[in-house]
Every structure is written in structure tokens, then in C-alpha cells.
């Protein structure tokens, strides 16, 4: 039995602990966001966040993420209430087939959580491990920049409320 925390929820999964995290997310937890692309850490379609860092879930045995916080695309928002990253990709229509997009969003999310002021060059550099074959790169770059701006305005909007709570 492996204990997992995914998108804030705890799960006990009866699985061979050597199983890559990707298969557990997709099959046992029925989360579609992370995709199988290469199984080799060369394409990034399987990218998820573990304790805030972008990792290749296809290469990560599930036992290594016990006690850590795993986040997938499903943890960024829902189809009815998309989070800023998802909202930005929808606004920019930043997908063709869309198969790589979940991995792109998670790598970008990890960047922006660590570096909210990331510039366009930072975004480009951060996305280097992830492949897109449809050629949606320009839109992906625009969407991540837009997500950065949405997150900044959101956190700016949140700041007074947080300050008020602290003051009380």
C-alpha cells in the first residue's frame, strides 16, 4: 500500500511501489491530465508537480512521492472554474491536438510558483524539456505569460484581504 497526496487529497493505493507515478495517476486515480509520451523523460507530456517542482511522472517510482504533495492539471482548476493557467490557455486558444498541453501547464505552473515575475526568456527556458509536435509554441509562450499576469493580478487582488485577516 502506497500513501499519496494528490491535489490536496490523500489516497491509499494498492500497487507495486516501483510503478511509475504516471500509471498510478492515470489508472488508479483516474486523472487524465498527465500523459504518456515517451516513458524516457524526453518529451515532458507526463509532467506533474511534486512539492512545487516539475517532475517527469513517467520516470518517478510512486514510492518516491510518498509524503509529498503531488499536483496535476486537475489541481489547477475545473472546467467550470478554470484556474489562471487554464484560463490563459483557453483565452489564447493555445492548443492544437492538446496532448502535450497538460505537461506544458504543469511545468509553467512550477516556474511561476517559484518565480512569479518570470520574464519571457525565463518561460522559454523553463519549457525547454517539453515537446510540442503540432507547433503551438508561440501560443503556449503567450498563454504562460498571460497566466503570469493573471496570477499577479489575482495575488494583488488577494493581498488586501489577506492583510485584513492578519490585522484582525
Amino acid at each position: 500500500m502506497v500513501k499519496l497526496n494528490v491535489n490536496g487529497a490523500s489516497h491509499d493505493v494498492d500497487i507495486d511501489p516501483a510503478t511509475p507515478l504516471l500509471y498510478v495517476l492515470r489508472n488508479d486515480l483516474k486523472l487524465n491530465g498527465a500523459k504518456f509520451g515517451c516513458g524516457l523523460g524526453q518529451c515532458g507530456a507526463c509532467t506533474v508537480m511534486v512539492d512545487g517542482k516539475a517532475v517527469f511522472s513517467c520516470l518517478t517510482p510512486v514510492m518516491l512521492v510518498e509524503g509529498r504533495q503531488v499536483k496535476t492539471v486537475e489541481g489547477l482548476g475545473t472546467i467550470d472554474e478554470p484556474g489562471p493557467m487554464q484560463q490563459a490557455f483557453i483565452e489564447q486558444q493555445a492548443a492544437q491536438c492538446g496532448y502535450c498541453i497538460g505537461g506544458m501547464m504543469m511545468r509553467a505552473q512550477a516556474l511561476l510558483e517559484a518565480k512569479p515575475e518570470a520574464g519571457d526568456a525565463d518561460i522559454r527556458q523553463a519549457l525547454e524539456p517539453n515537446l510540442c509536435r503540432c507547433g503551438t509554441h508561440m501560443r503556449i509562450l503567450r498563454a504562460v505569460a498571460r497566466a503570469r499576469d493573471l496570477m499577479k493580478s489575482k495575488s494583488a487582488g488577494m493581498a488586501p484581504a489577506a492583510a485584513t485577516r492578519r490585522a484582525s
Partner: protein, 750 residues
């Protein structure tokens, strides 16, 4: 939202529709309907005018549109969403003529039990063929509804109009579409002269609508065949031979059968697969099986270092693509050049996958094939059952860009499912299986020779190309990997040279420029030691690269600006327009650039009868490490009336970047026995660091003009523009694709 249909299929369209609480209609899909990229043959009833788009093959209106008694509208297309956004744009087209919002249209895509047979979703023809059919059918249905409303409301048709799902008449009289339907009321053939709405009255075509598929794709919704998890589903993996023709000589499956979770080990001739409860158990069992299988291999591949020699010595037939004017013409100067292109991959990011289930003698296959009907035919032959015993339902996969492993994975799943009746079997290929077994875009050799007169005009043009067929899609069971490997060993279909207006290896081999004397020949190579088939653009990629490279050399020889030189040879006003727009928006000039930088321009009209596209770009060449960086790109495209402008821009940007990747990096490597490009490190493609700073796509819209295919139009011109920018930057030309760092350094003498 067309999420994959996870429910078990009700196999008949009648049943599907009745199940939806609808009136029962009759419906026929003609057996002779078009399959693949073949021009529609002249039909027997030649007296009738040809119907527009795919209506020519499937004329009955109820094959395309259904309106239920509750007013709901369902539109059927035989084309599949491959990431081009057509689930959205086809809704826009139907909504336009039916006078409803696109969101009111329920769209059913490629399914052998439900939709018309529109052959393959290929060749940039969805809007051109299916969109045109749906447009005309929708307009005619609107007119039928108005006629019905005229009877019901007692008002003349001239006083009635369709709006928001109703027919409205004088004094507030109104009848909803649902009130006007009756049994079989759309079971009539399409008319050739249906009047369409005028562009000035559009509410949906050309208006910005967000794509319907994107929200699910960015939130982890059910979007792909890979995401299907029907109850009781089991996971399968195939074990492939190390080379195409290897024979299995020894295999002991005892240890594999005892592995945790393993449900079945499948061996049928040289076809091997394993089925397990959990996916990773199947992966581990697959690895154990691969280690246990002993194969006999033969060297059968050509010499990768001399593909032109292989192509030249393997010619089986020479075909005339065009022969216009005189064989030769006197002139001032004659130039010659030879170009080549390596074998290149589709390289889908998600390896091919399918789910299949055998239930009560019916095999249902959920597949990301581009052709549900042809795939069904091949799978039925492979299984030895009638076609009615196989149903193929298109379910999205990772982008395919042509004939990738989709059909083969569908066949794998169908074959494995025969061993486990009642269980949905999910197959997903591993990365190396996709890279090694997908049919590649064929290698090509081209030779051009042209003569300029005293005025710098081309008076004579000879062009020869050497290539395999670019179309080995199903086809028979022998076009499927499983069909070839299984004990029955279906042979591959023999390759045939077909020279048609759609083009194959010869696509865009005829220059679109005004040249009085032309000879174009295809030296056809039937032998296919490397598995090949349709990759986005087919021969157009290498032919346009060759022609546009050569046009620049001719412009230099004529001492002319490359843009002006092209315009000098083009009377076609829409060709001139895209060239002028691209040049102007780019700021095309002769001004010198810093050392190592160059400008490149190229143009083509895709297939010579689809979209016009011109492109200008700037490149920087690093002599020391051999890299070429494209800094900015400007493109202008005219594909007739723009249904979904943003999707045209998205597809064109994608075509530019994909072609940039092919052109700069991509070649399949092999020795005389094995393919040596099993992953992304041995077959590198474009990454973000090489993406240009900017790409502008300008759509030259022509409201009211016929729809023209666009999604593949950028492939050739992009390669030509990169080639010409490199030439402009360095004074040297590279004639061989791809423009790898080694090649750049060799040409520059570094």
C-alpha cells in the same frame, strides 16, 4: 463536447437515433463512397450536375443532418477532429445556414455506424469537402423547413424566415423546427443549385468562436482514446520484431504467463502481445517477452549515406506529371540543381493507442485513425469477418500529421480483443514502437533544370523527381502491421504510381509559375524497404523546397530580387496578393543585414488548387557551431472564405514550426538491418530555445469564395524560405534536407 463515447455502442444509426428519442429515419451510405485521396470518379448519372463537396458521394440530406421532434439538431461528418479545430468550425458552418448558434449543433464525427463515409481526414480537405457538403445540406434543410412552415402557418415562403431554431412569419406567427419535422422529411437528395446565405448576413462563419475541445483538454477531461476506461478494461502491450521482416524463431512464454497480473499471452505467427490487469504489469511483461523472444533478421535496408543512388537504381516506372509546350527553348542561361530529402517521421507526442472489444460477434474499435471506413475494411479482412462485424469509432488521439501508427494500433487492439471476448482491451504503443514502426515520409530526390531568356524570364523548365508512393494507408489487411505479422501473413499492398490532380509524390511538382515549356516526370520507386506513407503535405514538402530554392538561384542568375522575380512569373491575382502582403508586412528589402544574417522568401499554392501561401523570414547562421536560428517569420495565406480565422492562423503557425523542425533537424537513421532512431534523442525535433521570436500569419479573407484546404499549405514554403535565407546569409546553398549542424559546417567549410 465530443468526449469519447465510453458507453458500449448501439450499432445501428437507426438504433442510435431511436435511442435518442427521435423519429426513425432511413439512411443509406453508398458502398461506392470515396475512400482516401482519390478524385471522385465520374459518376454513372453524368447527366446530373456534380453535387458540391462530399454530397457528390453521399447525397441524402439525412446522412448529414437530423432534426428531432424536440427541435434538437444533429450534424454528421465523416471527418475526424485531429486538433485542427474542425469540431468547432463545422458547427459554425451548419449553424450559419440553419440559423442557430453553433452551440445548438450536436456534431457526430467519423463513426462507421453513424456517419457518412468521407474516406480519410487528410489532405487539408475537411472544410473543403465536408464543410461544403454540410453548408449546402444545411441551407437546403432550412429551405425545406421554410416550405413546411409555409403549409403549417398558411403564409407564403417569401414572408417567412429562419431565426434561432424557428421559422418566423407575419404577425408573430412562428413554428419551431421540431414542430415541422416528419418521418423521413430529410430523406431527399441534395440539390446542386441550393442558394447559400450571402457573406454580409453571417452570424457564425468567420466570427470568433472558442474551440469546443480546448476546455476539457486543459482541465484533465476525457479528451483522448488514451483516456478511455470502460468497466472491465484490461491493458495490452505488443512486442515487435527488431526489424520489419524478422521472423520469430524461439519464444518461451511460460515465465511471462506467471508474472503478476498477466491475463493472456498472445502469439499469432510473428505477432506477440501480452494482456495484464494493470498497465505497468503489462509493460513489465512486455519487457520480459521481448527478452525471451529470439528473432532472425536479414539486412534489407538501403545505404542511408547514399539514398539518391538507391532511388535511381530502383525506378520501376516513369510517369509524366506534365508536358507543356516544347521540349526545349533557346535562352541566355541554363541552370541545373539536385535536391534531396531524408526519411522523416510524423513523431506524434502520444504513441498510438486504441481500445477494442469483441462482444456478441461484433468487434468495436475506438481509434484515432484518420479513416474509420478504410480501417474497418482492413481490420475485418484481417479478422476474417464481414465488415458489418467491425465498427470503428473515431476518438481523438495525439496529433498525427498523416498516416502514423493509428491504424496499426487499432488492428493490434482488434486482434488481441478476439482472445478475450467481452473485455475492452486497451493497447498503447511504447515510444520506440512508434518511432520504429510508424510509416515515414518517403525520402526523395529531385532534379531541376531551367533556361532564362535575355529578359530574365524562365522559358523552359524540366523537373524530375524520384520517390516511393506517399500513400500506403489501408488498404488491405496487409497494410496493417498486425496483418503482416500474424500467422496468415497478409502481404503488403503493391505500390502503384497514381498521378492525379490531388498529387502524391508529385504533389506540387508542377511549378505554379507561368513558364511556357514544362516537362515534369515522376520516377516511381515501388520498392519500399523502409516503411513509408503519408506525412503532412506528401511530396509537396520536398517539391516546393526544391522549386523555391531553384527559383532563388534563377533570380540570382537573372540579377533580380527574389520577390520581384516570382511576381514576374505570376499573373494569378490571388498568388500575387499573398506574395505582396507577405513582402510588405515583413518589410522585404535589399538593405544589407549584419554578417551571418539573411532573408528568405517562398511561395506555393498548395496542390496547385488549394490555399495560396507566401512566407518571408530572417535567419541567423552561426558558422562555428552550425546552427541556424530563425528570428522572425511573416506569412500570408488565402484559403477562400475564412470560416474560423483563429484556427487558420493556429494551423498555419503550426505548419511553419513543424516544417522548420523537419527542415533543420529531422532524418530517420538506419543501418542495413535496423532503424536506429527509437526515441527523441536519436530523432531530435524543435524545442523552445529554437522557436522564433515572432510568427505573424496574415489571412487574406475572401468572403463568399469556395473553401480551400489550408492546414498543410505552409510545409513546403517554410522549407524554401529557410533554404533561401541560409543562401542569403552565407552565399552558399544546401541542397539536402535536413539542414543539420554538420551539413551547415560542411557547406561553410568550417
Amino acid at each position: 463536447m465530443n468526449a469519447p463515447n465510453l458507453h458500449l455502442p448501439d450499432v445501428t444509426r437507426r438504433g442510435f437515433l431511436a435511442g435518442a428519442g427521435a423519429l426513425v429515419v432511413s439512411f443509406t451510405i453508398p458502398a461506392e463512397a470515396q475512400e482516401g485521396e482519390v478524385p471522385a470518379a465520374p459518376r454513372a448519372q453524368a447527366a446530373k450536375p456534380k453535387l458540391p463537396g462530399s454530397l457528390a458521394d453521399t447525397p441524402s440530406l439525412d446522412a448529414w443532418i437530423r432534426i428531432d421532434a424536440n427541435g434538437s439538431i444533429t450534424v454528421f461528418t465523416g471527418k475526424a477532429e485531429l486538433g485542427q479545430g474542425t469540431k468547432t468550425s463545422l458547427r459554425q458552418i451548419a449553424a450559419e445556414e440553419l440559423e442557430v448558434e453553433p452551440a445548438a449543433i450536436n456534431l457526430i464525427t467519423a463513426d462507421t455506424a453513424l456517419t457518412p463515409n468521407e474516406g480519410y481526414t487528410a489532405g487539408s480537405q475537411t472544410i473543403q469537402n465536408s464543410g461544403t457538403a454540410i453548408r449546402f445540406a444545411s441551407a437546403q434543410v432550412r429551405q425545406i423547413l421554410i416550405a413546411k412552415a409555409s403549409e403549417k402557418l398558411g403564409a407564403p415562403v417569401e414572408a417567412l424566415k429562419a431565426e434561432a431554431g424557428s421559422i418566423a412569419g407575419p404577425n408573430g406567427a412562428r413554428a419551431g423546427y421540431g414542430e415541422l419535422v416528419s418521418a423521413d422529411f430529410l430523406h431527399v437528395d441534395a440539390a446542386a443549385d441550393t442558394k447559400l446565405k450571402a457573406p454580409g448576413t453571417y452570424h457564425a462563419i468567420g466570427k470568433p468562436f472558442a474551440r469546443v475541445d480546448i476546455p476539457a483538454k486543459v482541465t484533465g477531461g476525457d479528451a483522448y482514446v488514451q483516456d478511455m476506461r470502460p468497466p472491465g478494461m484490461v491493458h495490452a502491450r505488443v512486442v515487435r520484431p527488431p526489424t520489419y521482416g524478422a521472423k520469430l524463431v524461439d519464444f518461451a512464454d511460460v515465465a511471462v504467463k506467471a508474472m503478476p497480473g498477466v491475463i493472456a499471452v498472445v502469439r499469432d505467427g510473428d505477432f506477440l502481445a501480452v494482456v495484464a490487469e494493470h498497465e505497468f504489469q503489462a509493460v513489465k511483461a512486455m519487457r520480459a517477452m521481448a527478452a525471451a523472444a529470439k528473432w532472425q533478421e536479414q539486412p534489407a535496408l538501403p545505404d542511408q549515406s547514399n539514398i539518391p543512388a538507391f532511388l535511381e537504381k530502383s525506378v520501376s516506372e516513369v510517369g509524366t506529371v506534365t508536358s507543356v509546350g516544347a521540349e526545349s527553348a533557346p535562352g541566355a542561361k541554363t541552370l541545373q540543381a539536385q535536391f534531396t530529402r531524408a526519411y522523416q517521421m510524423h513523431g506524434s507526442i502520444g504513441p498510438s493507442s486504441a481500445v477494442a472489444m469483441l462482444d456478441n460477434g461484433l468487434t468495436t474499435v475506438w481509434t484515432h485513425t484518420q479513416g474509420v471506413y478504410p480501417d474497418r475494411k482492413a481490420i475485418a479482412q484481417m479478422l476474417g469477418v464481414p465488415e458489418e462485424k467491425v465498427r470503428c469509432i473515431h476518438t481523438e488521439g495525439s496529433g498525427c500529421y498523416g498516416h502514423n501508427g493509428a491504424d496499426d494500433a487499432a488492428a493490434d487492439a482488434a486482434l488481441i480483443a478476439q482472445k478475450l471476448p467481452g473485455k475492452p482491451v486497451r493497447v498503447q504503443w511504447m515510444r520506440d514502437q512508434e518511432h520504429l514502426w510508424e510509416p515515414y515520409g518517403p525520402a526523395m530526390l529531385t532534379r531541376a533544370s531551367a533556361t532564362l531568356d535575355q529578359n530574365g524570364k524562365i522559358v523552359n523548365w524540366h523537373y524530375d523527381l524520384w520517390s516511393n508512393s506517399h500513400g500506403t494507408r489501408p488498404g488491405s489487411a496487409g497494410s496493417l502491421i498486425a496483418g503482416r505479422l500474424m500467422a496468415r501473413h497478409f502481404p503488403p499492398d503493391p505500390a502503384r504510381m497514381e498521378i492525379t490532380p490531388l498529387g502524391n509524390g508529385d504533389r506540387n511538382a508542377i511549378p505554379f509559375y507561368d513558364v511556357p515549356n514544362q516537362r515534369v516526370n515522376w520516377h516511381f520507386v515501388a520498392d519500399m524497404p523502409v516503411r513509408v506513407s503519408s506525412l503532412r503535405g506528401l511530396g509537396a514538402y520536398c517539391n516546393v523546397f526544391s522549386i523555391e530554392s531553384f527559383m532563388d538561384e534563377l533570380a540570382l542568375a537573372a540579377n533580380a530580387d527574389p520577390v520581384e522575380f516570382r511576381l514576374r512569373h505570376l499573373k494569378d491575382p490571388r498568388a500575387r496578393k499573398v506574395i505582396e502582403v507577405a513582402a510588405e508586412k515583413f518589410g522585404w528589402s535589399k538593405d544589407p543585414l549584419p554578417e551571418g544574417r539573411g532573408r528568405g522568401f517562398a511561395f506555393a499554392k498548395y496542390k496547385n488548387h488549394a490555399a495560396w501561401l507566401a512566407i518571408a523570414l530572417e535567419a541567423e547562421v552561426d558558422r562555428d557551431n552550425g546552427t541556424i536560428r530563425i528570428s522572425h517569420v511573416v506569412c500570408a495565406v488565402d484559403c477562400g472564405e475564412a470560416v474560423a480565422l483563429d484556427s487558420i492562423v493556429n494551423q498555419t503557425e503550426g505548419g511553419i514550426l513543424q516544417s522548420m523542425s523537419w527542415t533543420l533537424y529531422e532524418a530517420v537513421h538506419f543501418d542495413r538491418t535496423r532503424i536506429l532512431s527509437p526515441d527523441w534523442s536519436t530523432y531530435p525535433i524543435l524545442r523552445f530555445s529554437a522557436v522564433p521570436d515572432s510568427i505573424e500569419v496574415h489571412v487574406v479573407d475572401n468572403p463568399g469564395a469556395p473553401y480551400l484546404g489550408v492546414a498543410e499549405a505552409a510545409q513546403g514554403p517554410t522549407a524554401g524560405a529557410i533554404a533561401n535565407a541560409f543562401r542569403n546569409a552565407t552565399g552558399k546553398r544546401i541542397h539536402d534536407l535536413p539542414y543539420t549542424r554538420d551539413r551547415v559546417k560542411a557547406v561553410l567549410g568550417v
